[in-house]
Amino acid sequence: MDVGELQQTLSKLHQEAKADLAATKTLDELRSVRSKYLGKTGSVGSLMGTIKDYPPKQRGEVGKTLNSANKAIGELVNEHTERIGSAEVAADAATSTAFDPTLPGERSRLGSVHPVTAVQWEVEAVFERLGFTIEAGPEMETDYYNFEALNIPPMHPARDLQDTFWLKNGMLLRTQTSPVQIRAMEKFGAPLRCIVPGRCFRYETIDASHENTFHQVEGLMIDRNVSIANLIAVMKLLLNEVLQREFEIRLRPGYFPFVEPGFELDIACLICNGKGCATCKRTGWLELLPCGMVHPNVLQAGGIDPNEYGGFAFGLGLTRLAMMKFGIRDIRVVNSGDLRNLVHSDRWAGPVILDKD
């Protein structure tokens, strides 16, 4: 084609490109329009290759014509790039009724520990900060560790209070975590500071408030000059940390053969704050844990000289503490394996909108 025709063609293409570009809505569309005209095989781009077909005299003019057409369309492309870009920025920033920034997020299903474990870890953390080690002991225990070494000889009335699961092989299921007191004394000697979380078993009829399988945490501190004042301070600290509240506590006499003196530790009722209610039988106090100063016979059984060392011990019902903390009303839930009762399912499923419980 001659130069005049070329100019006409280019002018037509310019108009077409202008219309095409005006119709673009996205940068992708824009890119394809750009290559339709300006690409190597595009309608303008392909004409660039025809320069060599013109007589040498005309080549300069043709080149100029093509370049300026190319440039003009390029400028159009730039204009539209900016148009679409700012439209996209505006759209991104625009309010959309379909987007509610206040909706809950999508949650990861990380799993859950048992309520008793959750409380156990809190107790462990408190004592680790006090320099106590955490020990463990067997659930199938000997009469010696569970009773005799704890100053409970055969036929002692205290055995009645702890109905025991006996095994045909002569062993028993430990009725308390206290046997690990002796095991820990044998292992470490004095001074000693340890706690022992673990499962215990009592031959009891199960109902809403009694289980034959439950968790306790045993605590033992042996040193020179350990006093009742120390025991009270440590117990107070433990309960305040685990229950995240300041509590009044009180000690009163309690009889357990492996301590002398022995105490029952009560906390001011959580429900009525000590004023008296049905939960605390109008006393204002809840019985929480037995404790006391380690009996010399028990120290001796653990190989520690009671003339040199003394200490305190306690047994905290972890299952009861977990029930208090998580509002579990029926103890049978604890060993049911039923996740509906053991897991805060809203943690995973989504927030609760209405809960009639």
Binding site: V113, D223, N225, I228, G254, E260
Partner: protein, 799 residues
């Protein structure tokens, strides 16, 4: 145990201004737990004694009687429902104008068309438990028309938790509680009111011969024969008190022994004196039978201690008297037994017979042998006021072959102060101990403390016991809490604790498992559904339910049961339990801590994905806990348990040790449990955590970023389906080229583009050099040589 405050007031002055609830609280914190306080208010006024003159039936009303009463100069006609009335007996009567809270104001009225001028009062109106007699009988010392002092009817009752006084024989009677109250209030304890038997007895009289065969089981036996007793009602004050502490008044003699039991804690037994000439205390013969006074014939073992008279059994020592020698209506002579029996023997016998009584409950606490004579003296003191003709028919007989040793405890006041963490001076200590009956002498800076006999039977023997007496009376609430001062000591971490905490943190606080706690015994019914017969393990003598005797040797049956429970409420769940499993043998080492995992999902054919996912979870945990990778070994095909898949089962191997198994539940098992489970997939794993204790966590160096870029390429190998992963790895690892930096496993594929009998394993390979950047020729050369190596291993490349 119930304690009457009126009763306590016999022994200690309790100010009227003192709130009984406050007193109860003080008792709780210094002595024994009070479970409740009850105010017994009868609102009684105008009550009198009345003599029954005649009793006539009411026509057409068999439950009612027409009763005529002598009110002392006056008479009254009433219609009464009281079932047991006899002419000439004295009853408590509420004439018109009298009132009680229970019945309101009494008025003349008409019952069954008959006039009724008052009411024969039931026991419940004055706080006496309802009895079959349902009338209150007065002793013969009262006169018809005599008014009844309403003051003795109102009372406060304190309930003490029996469990909190198992170690305190002295607290099983009002006098012992009064001693504590006196110390709490700082008031004197009045002496125990008794008579001097020496003054009453006739020196010419003989003793009741007592022979004790077993002085260990019966340290002391005291007895006294008396005449001049008869069947009659106990005094009203005594009946009221007994009623208030939950003992039903029966008859003066029985009530007297019950009263002294509740007073001093010493059980006594009154035999019909005409049937007993002598006392022999000895063991029963095995297989003999004995009929106790409740009419039950009991089979005895040779451990049962018996009271015999002329070798004829008359009582089960310390537990219950015999039917034959029971005091009856016509009894005029009694032989009063007041003995001391050894506690554990009583406990054993009670356990063997399945029989516990108020008496045995007290003997089980190791009673003070000094109370045997004291209570006889008390009995005579109380009885002589009721039976004007009472006379000794024997001298006091007292066999005391096993004397209670005196106990003196040496106490260092400095040690007391130090152990309490609270300053108490010697005078305070002495005052406290003296107030509760201890003798204290100061000797060279130490206190020499003599223990009273009522605390010396087993309760108190060491300085710590004395410390408790001091500390509880100082008041634990007066001790200021103070954190201990200690020497820092390092304790080696307990590997069990660390391993378990790590496992729970990994699985339940990141990998999506929910922790459960399940019972440690198998449930036979459930095992049947699983089709599982466990190997022998420890077996409970007293299981909580039938079929739940054997302890578990695997966590899986329980976890499968929990899965079967949870499938109703979820479409997918992951469970985790860390718990103990057991092996047979009387050794506490025959148990291990296991980790059990379940990953379950509704939908058929999900086995392989769950299996791979579960293994991935285990590997993630292994990285966190052990700091490295695990291996799997294809487990042998003889499936160990029904939940193990014949083929899809691997042993989990950590550092050369097999630590557990991972598998999927075969369809056969799922069907056995429930047909619905055939549409589920369940993968499981069980790991012996104890095997990990000795593993040290490796801290591997992190990979350095290469100085020269490396080239990454994936190779997919077609291998025989049966050719194990480990073999392929070994073969690939044999490729030795300086430019090969690293080979990692990417994944496996079996599907459309893979020919049958084959599967595809994809590996990612890194080529590079620490010295230089590889050129294209280097890469293609090493790639070609790696492909050649693959070919030489007999694997095809999948394009």
């Amino acid at each position: 145990m119930l304690i009457s405050v009126n009763w306590l007031r016999d022994y200690v002055e309790i100010p009227d201004s003192l709130d009984v609830r406050a007193l109860a609280e003080r008792l709780t914190i210094t002595t024994a737990e009070v479970e409740g306080v009850e105010h017994i208010k009868t609102g009684a006024s105008g009550l009198i004694a009345a003599r029954v003159v005649s009793i006539d039936p009411v026509e057409g009303k068999p439950s009612l009687k027409k009763v005529e009463l002598d009110l002392g100069g006056k008479s009254a006609r009433v219609v009464s429902a009281a079932p047991v009335l006899r002419v000439d007996e004295l009853v408590v009567f509420a004439p018109p104008g009298a009132s009680t809270l229970e019945s309101g104001k009494i008025e003349s009225t008409t019952v069954a068309d008959l006039p009724s001028e008052g009411m024969i009062l039931p026991g419940s109106a004055i706080g006496i438990p309802a009895s079959d007699k349902d009338a209150i009988f007065c002793p013969p010392s009262m006169k018809p028309g005599e008014s009844i002092d309403a003051k003795m009817l109102d009372d406060w009752v304190i309930e003490i938790d029996n469990k909190s006084i198992t170690h305190r024989p002295d607290l099983w009677g009002h006098y012992g509680i009064a001693r504590e109250v006196a110390a709490i209030l700082g008031k004197p304890l009045k002496p125990y009111p008794v008579v001097d038997l020496e003054k009453l007895s006739d020196k010419k009289q003989s003793e009741v011969p007592i022979t004790i065969d077993d002085a260990n089981r019966c340290p002391r036996y005291s007895a006294l024969k008396m005449t001049g007793v008869r069947a009659q009602a106990a005094p009203l004050w005594m009946q009221t008190r007994l009623g208030h502490v939950g003992l039903r008044p029966i008859d003066c003699l029985v009530d007297l022994t019950n009263y002294i039991m509740a007073d001093l804690g010493q059980p006594m037994h009154a035999f019909d004196g005409s049937k007993i000439e002598c006392i022999e205390v000895g063991l029963a013969s095995d297989g003999n039978t004995f009929t106790t006074l409740d009419g039950i014939e009991r089979k005895l073992s040779s451990e049962a201690l018996m009271i015999q008279s002329n070798r004829k059994s008359v009582a089960l020592a310390g537990i219950m008297g015999g039917l034959e020698s029971e005091v009856a209506g016509e009894t005029q002579t009694i032989l009063l037994e007041s003995a001391n029996f050894e506690a554990s023997g009583i406990r054993k016998t009670c356990a063997a017979l399945g029989l516990r009584t108020d008496a045995s409950a007290r003997f089980e606490k190791s009673l003070d042998p000094n109370n045997t004579v004291l209570s006889i003296q008390r009995f005579v003191h109380l009885a002589s006021a009721e039976f004007p003709e009472l006379q000794m028919a024997s001298r006091l007989s007292d066999a005391y072959p096993n004397t209670l040793a005196d106990i003196t405890v040496e106490v260092d006041p400095k040690l007391v102060t130090r152990t309490m963490g609270h300053p108490v001076n010697e005078k305070q200590m002495t005052d406290i101990l003296t107030a509760i009956g201890f003798g204290v002498e100061s000797k060279g800076g130490k206190l020499s403390v003599k223990v009273p006999s009522y605390r010396a039977t087993k309760d108190i023997s060491i300085p710590a016991d004395i410390l408790e007496e001091i500390a509880r009376n100082v008041g634990y609430d007066n001790i200021v809490p103070r954190l201990p001062e200690v020497q820092v000591r390092h304790f080696t971490a307990n590997p069990q604790h660390i391993t378990e905490r790590n496992a729970l943190q990994a699985f339940c606080m990141g990998l999506g498992y929910s922790e459960v706690h399940l019972y440690i015994w198998y449930d036979e019914e459930w095992l049947k559904r699983l089709g599982f017969k466990p190997v022998a393990g420890p077996v409970l003598i007293n299981p909580s339910a039938a079929g739940q005797a054997q302890l578990r040797c695997s966590l899986m049956p329980g976890l499968l049961q929990a899965s079967d429970r949870n499938r109703f409420h979820a479409d997918a769940f992951k469970l985790c339990e860390v718990g103990t499993v057991f092996r047979e043998g009387p050794d506490s080492r025959n148990q291990s801590r296991h980790l059990g995992l379940i990953s379950a999902k509704r939908g058929k054919g999900g086995d392989d994905d769950l299996f791979a996912g579960l293994k991935g979870d285990i590997e993630t945990w292994a990285w966190q806990t052990l700091g490295g990778d695990l291996q799997y070994e294809h487990a042998s095909k003889n499936a160990a348990a029904p939940w193990t898949h014949e083929h899809k089962t691997a042993n989990i191997v950590a550092k050369g040790t097999t630590i557990g198994t991972v598998s999927v539940c075969p369809l056969a098992l799922r069907r056995n449990i429930d047909e619905h489970l055939s549409a589920w997939s369940i993968a499981w794993a069980e790991v012996d955590l104890d095997l990990l204790h000795d593993f040290k966590v490796e801290s591997k160096s992190l990979r350095r970023v290469p100085e020269h870029p490396e080239v990454e390429m994936d190779f997919s190998l077609l291998i025989d389906a049966g050719s194990p992963y480990a073999t392929v790895n070994e073969n690939l690892a044999r490729f030795d080229d300086p430019l090969l930096r690293r080979v990692t496993y990417v994944g496996a594929y079996e599907g459309k583009s893979v020919p049958t009998g084959k599967r595809s394993l994809t590996y990612r390979v890194l080529f590079g050099s620490p010295e230089r950047t590889l050129g294209e020729e280097d890469v293609s050369a090493v790639k070609a040589s790696f492909e050649k190596h693959i070919g030489s291993c007999g694997y095809e490349l999948r394009r």
